[in-house]
């Protein structure tokens, strides 16, 4: 380094000032936000109490089919013979027949399986790979039944987008970010966390 400059050039002085300002800005942001930041990540979830089953979950997700699926809280289920989540309105359920005709089912993909248990009691289970998260069954069950069917973001599928397309389209504000270690907002207490 032969050419040792005497003192600072104007350009070098400005650069140093700029660098100092930049470091202060970075440190300031870190200090302001690190104090009230959270260690763990957050994930998207649907608050079943706010969900109005508008159908956006099925169409707005960047995945096809959606990362939202229907979840069944069996502890709340009435095991009804005439399930408003399973049958089209006005359809009389066929006695002791496990599988209703497709035309009498509410679910557009036939993802709700009906099985006779005893007497007038029938079990309804969700075939998750078939479920598209449209919420038709949830609407029926919430209006006329116990509300044991509800929609949840399934975290084996959800990509956890920073801006969730469904959350942006949700009319009732049911989408919230929840701590990743408590990733579900479940109804009924038998369902595992």
């Amino acid at each position: 380094m032969a050419k040792e400059e005497k003192g600072l050039s104007r350009r070098e002085l400005l650069r140093r000032l700029g660098m100092g300002t930049g470091l202060v800005a970075v440190a300031g942001t870190a200090a302001a936000l690190a104090g009230r930041s959270r260690r763990g990540d957050t994930v998207w979830q649907i608050d079943p109490a706010k969900c109005i089953q508008c159908g956006n979950c099925a169409t707005y997700c960047v995945l096809e089919p959606s990362a939202v699926k229907c979840v069944h809280a069996f502890i709340l289920c009435g095991y009804c013979e005439l399930c408003f989540g399973h049958f089209q309105p006005g359809v009389e359920p066929p006695r002791t027949l496990d599988v209703a005709g497709a035309e009498s089912q509410l679910c557009p993909t036939g993802a709700i399986k009906r099985r006779w248990i005893e007497g007038p009691l029938y079990e309804y289970t969700i075939d998750e790979p078939l479920c598209i998260g449209c919420g038709k069954c949830v609407k029926g069950c919430t209006l006329h039944g116990n509300g044991s069917l509800f929609l949840q973001v399934r975290h084996d599928r959800c990509l956890n987008c920073n801006e969730c397309s469904i959350a942006a389209a949700c009319p009732s504000g049911a989408y919230t970010r929840v701590p990743a270690d408590k990733p579900y907002l479940l109804k009924g207490k038998d369902t595992k966390r």
Partner: protein
């Protein structure tokens, strides 16, 4: 103990959730079984463990250090390219492009604007680490770590030269986009950078180790795919169009990189002004030597003085226009739209209800409260719109001043702000060729 509290809360939730049904009196009783039937349990798949967030941060830090070292010391385009492909594979295709420092701008803006929002520590680190790196080593992040940059870099086949006036004008867009993104994020309206991220759908085309099939991802995001594909088609001829003209994080990095402690140089020792590197940069970031201005010093001085006076006028004008545009921009916010709709319905000016207004009526919240909340948000937008306008005015004025300052330059140099540290220009320099030859003979001997 924690579990018990959780169960109690869940039980409470259950009761409260069941209440509306009970009011209607239609709720069937819980089923009793005589046949020994046991209710099935539902498995709820867990999300990715938190620890992986810190793996991401570590990978980012290592990649930044590696990219800086390769660009400044090793001076190898090939190795920079390798790191870039690695980052594209990891942050792009493996992590699905989320979360990235570009999007993290919005999380930081929201955290600054809304004190109830707790930003995840990893997201904060993603925002800050590349900025710190830029203060010391320039935009090494853009050149070799950013997956959005990488996907554009690999498709660049036939770069065309963008005229300087167009380059300067389009470059301003990024600052405007940055200001708008911060405004919409800080007011809680939307994360526009993520919503219009052109490449995230392309990253998700390759669902590495994910359960979705290829077609699932394609069908789910056709419009986003078309947006990404058009950017890549433009990117065949115009080097990294998103980075240069739109990327809001790139705009921040341009400012930070101007002050960087060390910076990429075209030549390893001394510029001989051979002009060989003149067309080396596909991103127009090489500045040619400029002789001292020919005209009398006073003309330049006069112009500069006029622009310095014009700067506060531009800022004030922008602030005024932005304040006026505030209420219109507030329409992006859900709550404002809902309040407008509810008001129209209440006053009987529209027929019927929307999903959103239905949902609002079921909450039985008083409409006045909603109107007050919406008015508060509109107020934020009036203030924020003014700030955005002032910012745009400031950017415009600063650009004009910057263009009018005629710098004397003796060497071919990368522009500190726009140089992406990709390393393409190294091999064009005869001095660099000499250095490499010398190094090879030293290694051989």
């Amino acid at each position: 103990m924690k579990r018990r509290v959780l169960l109690a809360v869940l039980a409470l939730l259950t009761v409260s959730a069941a209440l509306p049904a009970a009011e209607r009196g239609a709720q069937p009783p819980p089923a009793q079984f005589e046949s020994g039937y046991e209710r099935p349990t539902v498995e709820n798949p867990e999300p990715r463990a938190d620890a992986f967030d810190y793996v991401d941060v570590a990978v980012l830090a290592v990649a930044l250090a590696l990219a800086s070292w390769l660009a400044l010391r090793v001076r190898s385009r090939a190795w920079i390219f390798v790191v870039m492909l690695g980052a594209l594979a990891y942050f792009g295709f493996w992590r699905g492009g989320c979360v990235c420092p570009i999007g993290a701008i919005q999380n930081v803006a929201l955290a600054l604007g809304d004190s109830t929002y707790a930003i995840p520590l990893a997201v904060l680190a993603f925002f800050l680490l590349p900025l710190v790196a830029a203060l010391f080593f320039g935009r090494a992040f853009c050149g070799a770590v950013c997956p959005l940059g990488a996907v554009q870099d690999v498709v660049l086949l036939r770069p065309v030269k963008v005229p300087a006036w167009l380059e300067h004008a389009l470059g301003l867009l990024a600052y405007v986009y940055l200001g708008a993104a911060v405004l919409f994020a800080a007011t809680g309206a939307a994360f526009v950078i993520c919503r219009y991220d052109p490449f995230v759908s392309i990253f998700r085309l390759v669902p590495l180790f994910r359960s979705e099939s290829l077609m699932d991802a394609v069908r789910g995001s056709m419009t986003m795919l078309i947006l990404g594909a058009s950017f890549l088609v433009i990117g065949l001829f115009v080097g990294r169009p998103y980075c240069r003209y739109l990327c809001p994080y790139g705009a921040v990095l341009r400012i930070f990189s101007r002050a960087s402690r060390w910076h990429v140089a075209i030549t390893p020792d001394e510029c001989v002004e051979c002009r060989l590197c003149e067309d080396a940069c596909p991103f127009g970031a090489i500045r040619n030597p400029a002789p001292p201005p020919a005209g009398p010093r006073t003309t330049g001085k006069g112009r500069l003085a006029a622009l310095v006076v014009a700067l506060p006028i531009l800022v004030g004008l922008g602030a005024g226009l932005g304040t006026r545009a505030g209420p219109a921009m507030a329409q992006v916010h859900d709550t404002v739209r809902l309040a407008d709709r509810v008001r129209l319905e209440q006053e009987g000016k529209v027929e019927g209800t929307t999903n959103a207004s239905d949902a609002f009526y079921t909450t039985r919240r008083p409409a006045e409260e909603l109107y007050r909340e919406a008015a508060g948000i509109v107020g934020d937008f009036v203030w924020g719109g003014g700030a955005l306008g002032a910012w745009v005015g400031l950017v415009l004025g600063a650009k004009l001043i910057h263009l009018s300052v005629r710098r004397t330059r003796t060497d071919y140099e990368p522009d500190r702000a726009t140089c992406l540290a990709c390393g393409r220009c190294f091999a064009y320099c005869p001095k660099e060729q000499a250095r490499r030859a010398k190094k090879n003979t030293q290694e051989d001997g």
